[in-house]
Symmetry: C2
Subunit: 232 residues, 2 copies
């Protein structure tokens, strides 16, 4: 089967990697299928075409399906969250609009931000060898996300100051065969109303110890900690 690569990947293959007809590549569909392939001549000069040689087994996805809902951070930092959550195996990422989000609406509303985040997720999947690109949802309010995930296990990561009744990550609840919604806040953390809202929806408050973790490092820290205790 012949496949014409999307423009961005064609550029990467021919201009960055400088591959030629006959060279081998791996291609993936972003939904979990992966093939060994080789470059073949294209009808159009600007197109890059590959022939799928053999389907290969992709690396396995995590046993727990995680949705990461993350308070929207400033440009580069939100890109880091998307990139890192993809690398750490999140199945879905929801940019979260919360009380302490300071990024102006025009920076995250509409298709431009969403398309950029999708490009970031694709690039990260390529880099970490994952055949699945997590779905990036449109930015949503906390209440809407809690409603969508009603009845599922929910871990709400809180800062040390809020942590009086929070549990270490090892105490994260997980319904058998279940999915897990992971909530991380923006730079300013959660408002107390949001913490109450989370608790009311059944979220367990989880902490990463007494030190304050930078917001842009939270996707890596929270998902690595959860993977260590959940994916045995």
């Amino acid at each position: 089967m012949l496949v014409v690569l999307p423009e961005g990947e064609a550029h990467h293959v021919s201009r960055v990697l400088r591959l030629r007809t006959g060279d081998s590549v791996r291609v993936f569909d972003g939904r979990g299928r992966e093939w060994a392939a080789r470059l073949v001549p294209s009808a159009r000069r600007s197109a890059t075409t590959v022939e799928l040689v053999a389907e290969v087994a992709p690396i396995p996805e995590p046993s727990v399906r995680v949705t990461l809902a993350a308070g929207i951070l400033k440009g580069d930092h939100m890109d880091a969250i998307i990139r890192d959550a993809t690398m750490m195996g999140a199945a879905e990422i929801v940019p979260l609009v919360t009380e302490h989000v300071t990024v102006p609406k025009k920076a995250w509303q509409g298709s431009a931000a969403l398309e950029r985040w999708q490009r970031v997720a694709i690039a990260s999947a390529k880099q970490c060898g994952r055949a699945v690109v997590p779905e990036i949802a449109a930015p949503a309010e906390l209440a809407a996300v809690l409603t969508t995930h009603a009845g599922q296990s929910i871990a709400m990561f809180v800062e040390p100051a809020v942590g009086a009744d929070a549990t270490p990550v090892a105490g994260t609840p997980l319904a058998p065969g279940g999915t897990l919604l992971v909530l991380i806040g923006p730079e300013g953390g959660w408002s107390s109303a949001e913490v109450t809202q989370g608790r009311t929806a059944g979220a367990v408050l989880v902490h990463l110890g007494p030190r304050t973790i930078r917001a842009d490092a939270m996707a890596t820290a929270a998902l690595a900690a959860l993977a260590a205790v959940l994916n045995r």
Copy 2:
């Protein structure tokens, strides 16, 4: 007791935060003691002096004492390792000279690099609320570090391709009351000779799942995962 702040901190207090005589600050000695303090007039205009008002209890250090030895990465990325390891509670950080380190010797040898890394660690301790600044050792070879830590628990993080006999983080061994040496490689990972060297020294090979984790994210990912399974 009156304390004259070091130059960098004095600049931060008077020029960045624009604090004045009478304003409250927290000061720490980097070795685990912390005080509530207030700014007092200085004899010299350029100096910033504080009066220690009361010693306060610092946030607790992790129950497991971790030394992180990390393959030296390019400038910004090594700074990220130092910054993140401080935030994740490492007691000591050793820049590691390994076969696949590509950073030229002149970039990490001598006092300039060490002094920059120490500044990065101090800044990170302030940001995460930690009263202890981890010791940054001079760059060392893997063999020397393994010798120094002989008889201690050693976790050597390996890439997925090397992971045939590696254990998930939950399998990290820890002698009672012990300290833990954590080894993470540079961008190119470990050579097979280094993996053998680690095994011979008693290191347990540990992995973070089947995806490739970026080298500059490894301090956060590895230490968050370890903290989740060790500091209960």
